[in-house]
Symmetry: C2
């Protein structure tokens, strides 16, 4: 992998004047027009990425396939609209996301529900809207679902989420979704919960088992990690069939890396937090594509099933679709140069706007007004809040930057918007850029938004609640 | 300090049935009435705490004093109203916070402006509203302010924020606001920026120097840390007076610990992130009060000034006022018991709701429906999102917990609400409880709130912005 990526790696280009350009428009001009912080969605490329994923899956797997985009990653309605137009369906975890999917135009049959905390109210809402599948995460949930199905006189198709206890090498704890020690997700394969689930199922008339789901992490760069995880599930697939059950669906989750960003490994994370040392490059892996991933998965799945008994293959990608097709523009307002120490770039987007991802991910940062200026110094980039943790990056290799320069934090499509807060400042606008032009898809927060839930003269209740 | 604190340490009590009670109301009943996640503000105690702070300062310092509450810590309007009614003024860092303070009824003369990223627009807004003081954070800002004062034909009273390069022992980087290496704040004392600031000031007719501000961190438990920091500023105070300038105001910032929670030290932070080991107690310090802090500060300040030349003493407390007087109720929806490993408690409030504080702070957690149940096991407490980082606490010593039990995460008053996000779920309601009863002060977010800034049919602009 290249040490420093170039705008072309995101489908962007650099103008003759050295400015970062997206779909024919200057990033700096967009920043001036709409104000910063500003998220910019590269709309055409987002659609292409989503289509590329869907087509890879359809082309490389001999059976039926479905791609359900993971809403939690980025649930901006206009972004969802683009993804839906590329033929992807929805994966949701909450009432909010279910309603977003319905508003986006999805029918219940295009919606998969997956999450560790489906309350009884939410399960009822899922049944009412006839969602396609409920991915059962725990035995308690299975029992609750059965009870609700009977009470509401409704049927539910389910998958069992299985925790395979497989963690890709080096993956940090905050990204490892398939570890029985590291996270809460799924029925514990090693602890016997899947077998217990089948026992419970035997008594259930309205809950129908269709197959399995597993998810092993996020930012995965090695396609073989999926086959390794599947190997952990092999005996379960055999015993399920031996028991006379049909596996109609295999849902292999998501977690595919964006090729332009990277989750830090556990070791890198501790080193960064301890001595502020970011990795100097994105790693040693060669570039891989969705085709490489889906080829590996397709081949492996095929190996575990007879040709005439291939299950439908479900995917739940999130990060890989949205991450690389959005970036965040920040204005540098002050630069502080302290003799003998690193410079500080004080920007209008810190902890509240870049949120958690820059804690454990390595993102490229461009100087939009002069992309080619050589990177000569390591600096600290911080936000606007009097709060020592209000940090974008410490110890980042950058060109010389001056006040009013505009930075692009690349790959802001995954989890940035989802996790942003109004930490003393309004949440930013989002602009979408395509060949047709640019348009505001989410306006910036204003004072009235920020206090609209506040009630100052509510009468006091005295009843013993 | 006690190993495990009791509800009485927060002015709460336990009913005969073992339930956590606040101002005569059961926390569990509040959770059922308003739904969870739910923040509960202990209104009477919040007012007492704020009054206690103000009175400590007034009583123990022989000169004039002012207490400006730091809005960034918790800017919920009803909370601000209580703090204002206790006689505290406002410290703001952004246009949003300035407008909040004005809406809360503060006049400009009661508002101090402090922050590392005051844009020119914001500085203009501050002048328009005749704020009392602008705390200048950088030389660039001083120059910008002067230019604006001249252009707008207005005067500005300022303090210099000085970075003393003093970090209390063990304090982690994310809390150390007075370190020249660790954070961006203030004019660099060691690098000569304060002297350079005075040189610039000489030419300025509309910008008036009134004194100094410093801030050394958050969660400070040792009053002597303030005198140690002041010692770093001693020579500056002398040279300022030698140059014929009067120091009218000394602003010693905030950072006073809440006695019921604690920021982890750098070492504890790495240990927790590396091997999930939380400290087993709150530390060895004995209980201290605001009086202990303000006595130390008053004595030290008095030592640096002649009796007839005492400056006005300004404080900017945040955490110490709000942190202990709010707690967060979560419902445990599922419990997962994995043979040989820790249990998982799956709650409705994770990363989006407890936000950053539980990453680097040690908070007590109570089982509200049975506070006295003995703590017998270490568990992982997580949130509702399919996201491996959606964690409240790993490895927390807890009683046996069952589904539908309600947990109270104590000390949620500082930064929890400020940093919360709508991560797939609606942001929670806030209820205030006093002797008069309970009232909703912020309603929970609903779907319409969550999409109100989204624009799906905005026309595309094609002009070359």
């Amino acid at each position: 992998m290249k040490k420093i990526l170039q705008p072309e790696d995101w489908g962007l280009r650099v103008s003759q004047d050295g400015e970062l350009m997206v779909g024919g428009y200057s990033a700096v001009a967009l920043a001036r027009e709409y104000g910063t912080p500003l998220h910019v969605v590269n709309e055409a490329r987002l659609r292409e990425t989503a289509e590329d994923f869907r087509q890879s899956v359809e082309t490389l797997y001999p059976g039926k396939t479905s791609v359900h985009y993971a809403y939690k990653c980025n649930s901006v309605p206009a972004v969802l609209q683009v993804i839906r137009s590329a033929g992807l369906k929805a994966e949701v975890m909450s009432s909010f996301e279910l309603n977003l999917a319905l508003h986006a135009g999805h029918k219940g049959e295009e919606i998969v529900v997956n999450g560790p905390c489906k309350t009884d109210d939410f399960l009822r809402e899922c049944l009412e809207n006839q969602v396609r599948l409920i991915v059962v995460d725990s035995l308690d949930e299975l029992a609750a679902l059965n009870k609700i199905c009977l009470a509401e006189d409704k049927d539910a198709d389910i998958l069992f989420r299985v925790n395979p206890d497989y963690t890709p090498r080096g993956m940090n704890q905050g990204a490892a979704t398939g570890s029985r020690k590291g996270c809460a997700f799924g029925l514990d394969l090693k602890g016997g919960e899947v077998t217990a689930g089948f026992d419970l199922l035997e008594e259930m008339k309205r809950v129908h088992f269709l197959g399995f789901h597993f998810h092993i992490g996020t930012g995965i760069r090695d396609p073989k990690d999926y086959s390794r995880a599947l190997r952990c599930l092999g005996p379960l697939l055999d015993s399920t069939r031996s028991a006379g059950l049909t596996i109609t669906i295999m849902d292999v989750g998501g977690g595919f890396a964006s090729m332009t960003t990277r989750e830090l490994t556990s070791r890198e994370l501790l080193v960064y937090q301890g001595i502020e040392r970011l990795p100097s490059s994105l790693g040693k892996a060669t570039d891989i594509t969705f085709k490489d991933f889906t080829r590996e998965v397709s081949n492996t799945i095929s190996r575990y099933f007879p040709e005439n008994g291939l299950p439908e293959l479900l995917y739940e990608p999130g990060r890989g679709i949205v991450s690389p097709n959005q970036f965040l523009l920040l204005t540098v307002h002050r630069v502080k140069d302290r003799p003998g120490l690193r410079k500080w770039l004080i920007t209008d987007g810190g902890l509240g706007t870049v949120t958690l991802p820059t804690f454990y991910e390595y993102h490229e940062v461009f100087l939009c007004n002069d992309v080619r200026r050589p990177r000569t110094e390591k600096v600290n980039i911080v936000g606007p809040v009097c709060f020592a943790s209000d940090v974008v990056y410490r110890n980042k290799l950058m060109p010389q930057v001056r006040p009013d320069d505009v930075l692009a934090i690349m790959d802001s499509g995954a989890y940035f918007t989802a996790l942003e807060s109004s930490f003393g400042f309004a949440r930013p606008a989002i602009v979408s850029v395509s060949d047709q032009g640019h348009r505001l898809i989410r306006r910036a927060e204003v004072f009235e938004d920020m206090v609209c839930r506040d009630l100052l003269n509510q009468s006091v209740k005295t009843k013993e609640v």
